[in-house]
């Protein structure tokens, strides 16, 4: 179980992932060795899975991002697995999510420009197995993106 100190540490790290160990210990009000033990415990229990660099695809020339909301043909029992497997082979697919709701699956697709997107859509998306319906949402702007948890 997590206590207040664990939550405080995670809150601080979430807000500023670049804080050094000593600074983090200082802000959390603990000694560096106590902090290290806590972090070790949080990692061991799987609460803290790691720290990852976030890539800005726009800075790499991928100007277009589209959310494809997909419903699948449910008459095939393996439809979802097979579609997901095929989607993993498309390099421009950066996220695969499955849902309970009106939509079964969502793919986040990036492309250099609209012509490139068209090409991915025609050659790789429309040829995915068991597609029933696709709806596209074009990303205009990210207003909030930290994806923080309200700890």
């Amino acid at each position: 179980m997590l206590d207040d100190l664990d939550r405080r540490i995670l809150r601080l790290m979430q807000a500023e992932p670049d804080l050094s160990g000593p600074d983090l210990a200082d802000r959390a009000g603990v000694t560096p060795s106590r902090l290290a033990r806590r972090l070790e415990k949080l990692r061991e229990s799987g609460v803290l899975r790691g720290v990852r660099a976030q890539i800005d695809w726009q800075a790499l020339g991928y100007a277009v991002e589209v959310s494809l909301r997909i419903t699948i043909d449910k008459s095939q029992p393996r439809a979802l697995d097979e579609l997901m497997q095929a989607a993993r082979d498309i390099p421009e697919v950066i996220e695969i999510q499955t849902f309970l709701g009106r939509v079964d699956l969502r793919l986040s697709v990036i492309a250099r420009d609209m012509a490139h997107y068209q090409q991915i859509y025609r050659d790789q998306i429309l040829t995915l197995p068991h597609l029933a319906e696709i709806e596209a949402l074009m990303h205009v702007a990210r207003i909030k993106s930290e994806e923080s948890l309200p700890l």
Binding site: P17, G50, R52, L137, I143
Partner: protein
């Protein structure tokens, strides 16, 4: 736009998995010196390709059992209402991401909650009362995969 070579791509892939590794350790695996690795990381950061480091937490283990994606359509449009909506929605702690999209919906929100009852509370008290919020569609997240992308 920044052109990448194979070494840059290897560095990005490695840091996207684990951003805590030192330039020295990363360089050893890639057959680069510590200073050469550091310079490349610095260049990727300066170009905005690595935009931030992000804590990867297990939401489930922290007591957030439900993630819901909401498609929100604004009832009334116009510049003022967009800004009002964005300001208000960004301030909700349970709303992890806000994306402005074109298509069936105007905004796509990622909302985290402890359970379905907690989600209903957030939806009724916080989301439905947002200025300008109209139609809302909810899809409950079942699984999620982040893919490495075209590197």
């Amino acid at each position: 736009m920044m052109p990448l070579d194979d070494t840059d791509r290897a560095i990005l892939r490695a840091l996207a998995r684990d951003a805590t590794q030192s330039a020295g350790a990363l360089g050893r695996r890639l057959g680069l010196s510590q200073p050469a690795t550091w310079r490349r990381i610095k260049r990727l950061q300066d170009a905005g390709v690595i935009k931030a480091r992000k804590l990867d937490l297990d939401a489930d283990k922290l007591g957030f059992g439900v993630t819901v994606f909401l498609g929100v359509k604004l009832a009334t449009k116009g510049r003022v209402s967009l800004e009002d909506f964005e300001r208000a929605v960004t301030a909700i702690p349970e709303v992890q991401t806000v994306e402005h999209v074109l298509g069936l919906y105007d905004y796509r929100l990622r909302v985290v909650a402890r359970d379905i009852a907690d989600f209903e509370r957030v939806l009724r008290r916080r989301i439905m009362t947002l200025p300008g919020a109209g139609d809302v569609e909810a899809n409950v997240l079942l699984t999620e995969e982040r893919r490495p992308g075209p590197l």
